[in-house]
Symmetry: C2
Subunit: 461 residues, 2 copies
């Protein structure tokens, strides 16, 4: 069709930032357990069905107007009249033994492949050969089409909370539901929400980076807020290669909350503590632990002091990961103190103040995407750690029960590791994603985070 | 190490030509049959072994000096001091039922992924899950590192002609053997040999395309040779996308020779006839068959009239595929007549004449790689069909018998289909590779070529 949908400036930024090394697609990985009456050749039959019925609704049928000039200022979305469903929906399989390790390797590879901009920029892979007759869905979408949180909500439209429902249409064959649109407007503390804030701060200019330079320029404006802590240089804050490593870990929320409460911390604090413990141990093994503690940036919901209605604003805080402290309990206490202080500071601000502060924090990360900037623009923090709400009910794909919901976010130049956590009913699902070359053995972060939880639990006995 | 090995101008051309859509890597696919005593978990144990012993010899340890500026005139090869063997040697698996179709789909996808220029530009994939306990090796290497024929010879160093030999080292762990180097110098009629000729014609200039323009400019020089036939425009002579389709077919050489002989043709003629029949049928189904016959360019060995020693020269001929003729026997006879005429013409030339003619034929294909040239530079032919000699003995990978040896060559802008054929002992192995979008249902070429052989055989009864 001839209609062109303009890109909003933030989406455009994600296109303009795309390089061979920094690929701006996000994803999710979900393993599924078969029902007792699982039909043999379930996935084969599914593909037959998919080939027959290729009804596809917006945004899944949208492709770039000028795919050869990705960063064109006239870029927009047009409908793909030759939608090739077999390209977008794929079957894959795991080599034996089909364990979590092999799943991690395959998904790391799939996520290292760039998106084809001549088509609607998404793919979904049904991965068979997981132990126990299980399969997994790996989903990948370019951030310019939908952000991770909205994409996840749209994907869920292809799942059902009813294990008996065996004819749920594929997510791309569902008409855009109002419910989903509304969900995407919730004030969820995501990285995208923060980038939107930074963009609003930058005003109506299409050129975010130029405006951010202004925000950073000292003296000129009333930047009286706390300047970002100086983060130490580290192996995760270098140029990155195009290859990724991905690892996952799942924890019961109750178990995490119990430990957090025992130390008078929050769920976010324990997320930081487990990430911190993993990073400390891995970096020690790599002989690359900085003397100064690593710092993390967290998107959070904050109640501003000038909002009488008690509404929330999305903001960002900077927390110490206390990776210089050897004792796990002391380290956890230092993290708790650090986030508490940061939140106290933020909640003393007006809504506008929170926005300004967040834009300031985001600026170095966005500036680092200018070619040659990495190493010159000092990182304001070492790693982004996001904690995003996910599905509250168990979900099923035609009777197969979704076991977990692991996010894959975007490592970028200068920020070669991202830790995103999504809740799913009574579990917290960690997705560790990083650059294959600058952070070897990333998979160990998943193992070490579990050990870290056991350590904190044992210290309570 | 600090030593830089300069690229030769032809290799440099393959780097300079690399785009998101035209990827200059070649490959091969080989299925293997297990021995009676096949160890369980053969491939798993192989990977364990590979991880322990990462001895890697030239050229497999060479990476580009300036990977971020691919077409740098100062480009060269340097040794990779951080060779990451797990990146280059990979395990994959097929979804059920693990048949040839699923193998084709997986290899098409793997071949659609671009090579990482920050590492030695090659990958080898051990693909398990083929029916009957079989596995396949898919190998991929950038043409700038080695050409397809040399690459295949080097790969063979990791195979054995002895089914009892179970400890053959991996191909990259073999010291470069003199034997292999010599083999690569044989006068084999490959596309690469032709491009080398075209390059020699262009003189010592690094800028091949500029020199070729001169070769094409009429009048100035003594180009009295037959001008290329004008090929019809067709769907396989358009811009291409970055995605590939790959299909394979294997024929007993005796069967092909019997049919060829019965019609007084050559093995090359029957290769053309089967390709022609497939293209005609597929294009009819797509409602895209040109009125005028499609033409093919074939690299061939020719005995020049001025070589008293009876030596061979590599040249190229242009043959009609006679796709305008409905009757298969008449079509075959027209093809035979066409190649006979072309060869007669070529063998009447001096060695220099053959070189000039070949350079002339190659020029439009090389010119078509200049951005924007496709559609303006008229194709001299529609498709390249190469027939390359392969292994003469059955080969084994640690007791697993190699069943076939299917080449994957390079579709380029304006030439969206390539048919390369390799002999393996008593079989001829077809590799059909094309652009996924401009040539839908390419897989049918494999099916139709088999039907075409049966048709010609039946006509003889």
């Amino acid at each position: 069709m001839g209609t062109v949908k303009r890109l909003n400036p933030l989406d455009w930024t994600f296109l303009a930032g795309e390089t061979r090394e920094t690929m701006m697609h996000v994803g999710s990985l979900s393993p599924f357990t078969p029902p007792a009456d699982a039909p043999p050749d379930f996935l084969r039959k599914l593909m037959d069905e998919i080939r027959q019925d290729a009804q596809v609704y917006s945004p899944w049928n949208l492709k770039l107007k000028t795919p050869s000039i990705i960063a064109s200022p006239l870029q927009g979305w047009v409908e793909d009249d030759n939608f090739d469903v077999e390209y977008h929906v794929r079957r894959s399989a795991l080599p034996s033994p089909g364990d979590e390790r092999e799943l991690g390797i395959l998904v790391s590879r799939l996520h290292s492949n760039s998106i084809d901009f001549h088509r609607p920029p998404w793919e979904v892979h049904f991965i068979e050969g997981l132990e126990g007759g299980r399969f997994a869905i790996y989903f990948k979408v370019h951030h310019a089409l939908v952000d991770g949180y909205t994409g996840a909500k749209l994907m869920e439209a292809g799942l059902s909370s009813n294990p008996k429902e065996r004819d749920t249409p594929m997510f791309y064959s569902r008409e855009p539901a109002e419910r989903v649109a509304r969900a995407a407007e919730e004030k969820v503390p995501t990285l995208e929400a923060l980038m939107s804030l930074a963009k609003e701060q930058a005003g109506a200019s299409r050129n975010i980076t130029k405006a951010l330079f202004k925000t950073l320029a000292p003296g000129k404006e009333k930047n009286t807020l706390v300047a970002p802590m100086s983060a130490p240089k580290s192996i995760i804050n270098q140029k990155i290669s195009r290859n990724r490593r991905f690892a996952t870990q799942q924890f019961p929320v109750d178990r995490l909350k119990a430990v957090a409460k025992a130390y008078d911390g929050t769920l976010n604090d324990i997320v930081l503590a487990l990430s911190s413990a993993g990073l400390r141990k891995l970096m020690l093994e790599l002989n690359a632990l900085p003397d100064k503690p690593l710092t993390a940036m967290l998107p959070v919901n904050i109640r501003p002091k000038d909002d009488p209605g008690g509404g929330n604003a999305v903001g960002s805080i900077l927390a110490s990961l206390a990776t210089d402290i050897e004792d796990p309990v002391e380290r956890f206490r230092a993290i708790i103190a650090s986030t508490r202080e940061a939140k106290a500071q933020l909640s003393g601000m007006t809504k506008m103040g929170i926005m300004e502060y967040s834009a300031l924090l985001m600026a170095p990360m966005m500036l680092s995407q200018i070619p040659g900037a990495v190493g010159r623009v000092r990182p304001a923090f070492n790693v982004v750690i996001s904690n995003v709400p996910g599905p509250k009910k168990h979900l099923y794909f035609r009777g197969y029960k979704m076991e977990g919901y692991y996010p894959l976010s975007i490592p970028i130049a200068g920020y070669g590791l991202n830790i995103t956590v999504v809740s799913y009913v009574d579990t917290l699902n960690f997705g560790f994603i990083g650059c294959r070359d600058t952070l070897p053995h990333l998979q160990r972060l998943a193992v070490y985070s579990r050990e870290a939880l056991e350590e904190l639990e044992e210290a309570l006995l």
